[in-house]
Amino acid sequence: MTLRQPPLGDAHEESGATLTEFGGWEMPVEFESIRAEHEAVRESVGRFDVSHMGQLTVSGPEARRLTNRLVTNDVADLAPGESNYAAITDDRGVMLDDTVVYRPPVDWSVEADYLVVPNAGHDDEMADRWVDHRDSWELDAAVENRTESFAMVALQGRDARGLLAAETDADLGELGRFETTVGTVAGVETLISRTGYTGEPGYELIYPWNEAETVWSAVECQPCGLGARDTLRLEMGFLLSGRDFDPEENPRTPYEAGIDFAVDLDTEFVGRDALEGADVEGVDEKLRGIELVDRGVPRSGYAVESADGDRLGTVTSGTMSPTLGRGIGLAYLPADVDLDESVRVSVRGEPKKARTTATPFLDR
């Protein structure tokens, strides 16, 4: 299978980045070193090419109704310039993907009442899902998969604002979390969103694919790959679609995954009734943070056991936290396992002492 190339693919190749396959795309995993990139974001600012993220535009008189029936959060109340985080569930309440849904500002030149940003490799599936439901519900809305119309760059870290402010005419001072505005960056019309996947303040920039390099080079700072993106998100306990939940490999509801805040049972979305039952009865298992006390690195697939050696669950994501200097991970554990309970992670057959912990792992 040919991998999809981001619009910055040539630039990454020239920069000497190590590339990897992710969600069907060939993306940079590391430019300099994961640790250096991670630290740049935690201490100053870094830029990520996230053009592999999907972009669906939904427009028309019933765009709102359609989108609100396909995501778990309430997007009907979003005013232009607002966005929120949501899951996309099937009728069992199982998460197919997670997404940010934007109501773009009215002055964006792109025709879009809603912009839905699913994860890498899910764009076709979600576009089909929107189209199929539009047709079966007979709603008046246009759905377009615009993933290969837009470049997307994340600028993350405490110095992101100063860096971006010098390159844009947009007023960043007024922009709250999950708010978006439209401005030019290096002369290119850009949807500027105060969102991210790192726990640091910062922006995600969505702009025309063929201008990819113009904006990327205007916001010059440490380029960061998917390696640092993963360590940064994991320190915050943010979910990775396909890893921390997956409809085939690891079917989970938003409640199990701990994103209750993204579920609004007052709206009529696919999966709502199943989730209402789960909400009342409670979940059997819940995604927990795991922090190693012993030296070692929890990795996806490692067993989590009780102090007595009983199997409790499996690590879904794990790494050595560059900030904490300790092994951290996520695992679905029985709901009666408390926070700060002693557990063990089996690292190549050796039980390592660990404890359960709330996420995020970092105070942010």
Partner: protein
């Protein structure tokens, strides 16, 4: 990018090096190997007195992104372990042929240093 491959060492094609000195050898991983791995964050090494066998794995080096088995270039008994790596595994990145060494062994009688790759042979392999 070219990597340092010191002439006075012998190599395994799995990227370990051995500095043989009479009946003993110091063992580590090559500069190429540390670069492939990226930031090393954890090492799992044998203890003094353990036996290692040429071609068999004797430990693990973990970077942020990968777990890699390490193989013994030579057969022998472990006489020293680089304890500095416990707190500073990044020494493997910073100085793979120096402070980032892994273990020292006393060679067994049947150890075959001549079976290992010479520097030029290893350089060709990673070129």
């Amino acid at each position: 990018m070219s990597f340092d491959v010191p002439d006075d060492l012998r190599y395994l094609d799995s990227h370990e090096w051995a500095r043989v000195d009479d009946a003993s050898a110091r063992i580590g991983i090559s500069e190429f190997a540390q670069d492939e791995l990226g930031d090393v964050v954890f090492v799992d090494l044998p203890s003094e007195g353990d036996e290692v066998t040429a071609g068999d794995e004797f430990g693990v080096v973990e970077s942020i992104k990968a777990v890699s088995d390490i193989y013994a270039p030579l057969t022998g008994t472990v006489t020293a372990v680089n304890d500095d790596l416990t707190d500073r595994p990044e020494l493997i990145n910073e100085d793979p042929y120096g402070d980032g060494w892994l273990i020292e062994i006393e060679l067994s009688d049947d150890a075959e240093p001549d079976d290992l790759l010479a520097a030029d042979e290893y350089s060709d392999q990673i070129a």
